[in-house]
Amino acid sequence: MTNENKIRMQLQCPMPKLDFDVITLGHGSGGTLTNKLLDCGVFDILSNNFLDKRHDGAFLNMNGQMAFSTDSFLVSPIFFPGGNIGEIAVNGTVNDLAVCGAQPKYLSLSFIIEEGLKMTEFWEVLLAIRSACEEANVKIVTGDTKVVEKGKGDKIFINTSGVGAIHPKANIDEGNIKKGDKIIVSGNIATHGMSIMSIREGLDFDTTIESDTTNLNHTISQLLDEYGENIHLLKDPTRGGVATVLKEIAESSKFGIDLFENNLPIDEQVGSACELLGLDPLYVANEGLFISFVDASIADSFLDSLKQLDKGKNAQMIGTVVEEHPKQVILESSIGGKRVVNMLPGEQLPRIC
């Protein structure tokens, strides 16, 4: 959430005085305590016409083609530089819908809380959810809260699902990519993963790396207005990073991908942190980032338009779709050598020296 929004939220929505300061198993029982938890502010913070009905589900009016997506969020630690699990939970599903070419509209929100979570922490997560919803212009219309015993969770897990109408000009499909398509990444890579890593591993970096979590729906919508069907495919390279997404696309198509290491945008600090820990930024997770496969005829203009937008100012053209080496991603290294880019066998493990 933007800092301005954060301060406004905290002023507008101070946590009410409660007779409990941690969440206990009873708060997930469905009885009085659950209602107490929800009434103390959850419904107020997220209030809208749909949610306020407090029915078992939401009644929605929708027409035309829709996109529907779901995602579960487990982030440790739940608070990190640049955000918390709440905004990731909203932005994650919003962005999954946005890269389908949809304008996200309604979300569901489910919490699995580990008993002992401080109410102040839960409140901060709720404020982040509300702020992220406002910024993305989506509503939480239904939800659920469960509490698990201490040791059976990791503070809080969140699931969100969402629906949104497909943009009238959008035609996003892996089958649309063709030889010559240019591959454009909307900003610096590896930022979110290194932000989490820098605090999770207890490393003392001189400065903080802030996560890039943000919504992408408005940015993508503007690009779709302008470039419509010339945008062949959109993807958000979250877990597994840019390399994994590109390899998945190559494998499921009949084309190959050429990638240029020198064009990969990366923040200097993030790049240094990756070097230090022996991690390849191509495989590090991103949050507020998308990859576009666009028709070569509009690629330069698309890149210019994207660079004009706030969330695309670091955008770069990083690769091309080719007929040679089908199903393989080949990276041209910074010194001009070539190597294949594969998926990782598991999580990236930091090297010894």
């Binding site: 041209e332 598991g346 090297r351 010894i352």
Partner: protein, 364 residues
Amino acid sequence: MKYMKEYRDPQLAKKYLDEIKRTVTQDWTIMEVCGGQTHSLVKNGIIEMLPEQITMIHGPGCPVCVTPLNLIDKAIHLALDKNVILCSFGDMLRVPGSRMNLLEAKAKGADIRVLYSPLEAVKIAEENPEQDVVFFAVGFETTAPANALSVIHAHRKGLSNYSILASHVLVPPAMKAVINDEENQIDGFLAAGHVCTIMGNAEYYPLSEQHGVPIVVTGFEPLDVLQGILMVLRQLEADKTGVENQYSRIVKEEGNTEAQKMIFEVFEVKDQMWRGIGEIPDSGFALKDKYQAFDATKKYNVEIEEAPEHPDCISGQIMKGIKKPYECSQFGKKCKPTNPLGAPMVSSEGACAAYYHFSGLAEK
């Protein structure tokens, strides 16, 4: 961080490559000793850019690859003990033991923590006085000072719940063993820059002189490796042998004397088992008598039966440079990073994993 771009400059790389092509007149075989150099060669596509006359052979300088199987089994055994917190560097976790690896032990409930520094392990020991903390102290001369320092700190603080399971290996004796191998075809070496940062260059002069091989202390960035290759090549083509320092921006002739003091306060040189290679005389570190209380193998007296290596794994021949990863019958077939039969398929610095991951050979 400095030098992120300077040593990856494509124009300079081309100049070095052109110079290498101009200099070479016959076939030469050069071993890069360190896994970090192997990683750089393969990751940057350098092997394919070199002229055909130059064959690069990937040396034994991958610490996780040469850690004895038996010691990994011991680490797993200790980690599965309910009262032990086992701390390790990240890339040890996927190395196959005889029955499972540390990641699988973690899934079975072992408390295993990935750390970047052994000093964090000392902190964990202080914070958990009821539990025993064991640091899996693996590595070359490079990690020895920090591991030694952790023992010094624990000793000073009087911690009785901290110990290290040490598998320290030393580079110069391994180079000697590789040279003395009957099947060895190596004409020159790129020595491991980081190891020399700590230990200096002194040990390489007798090695170069006695065995008549050029040795160039080399860094890890693409331009470092290219320059190192050119320097070895110039010696070979001029029929000279000597020790040169390509990595002089980091490596001082005498090394880091403070770090050496720390190492020899805590450790003494001993014979050491190398996985896939066998025992090499004077090639490892053991804790000195004064610090015996911090030696996990003695403290816990874990006896684990020696298990055989996978019969199809030829990692020893690969680490001695006798075979290339793709010459192994199981490379990319039964043996993949998701199911490694031997350690070089695990770490990104292991020759097999580097080839599998970056060269696409497995897919051909």
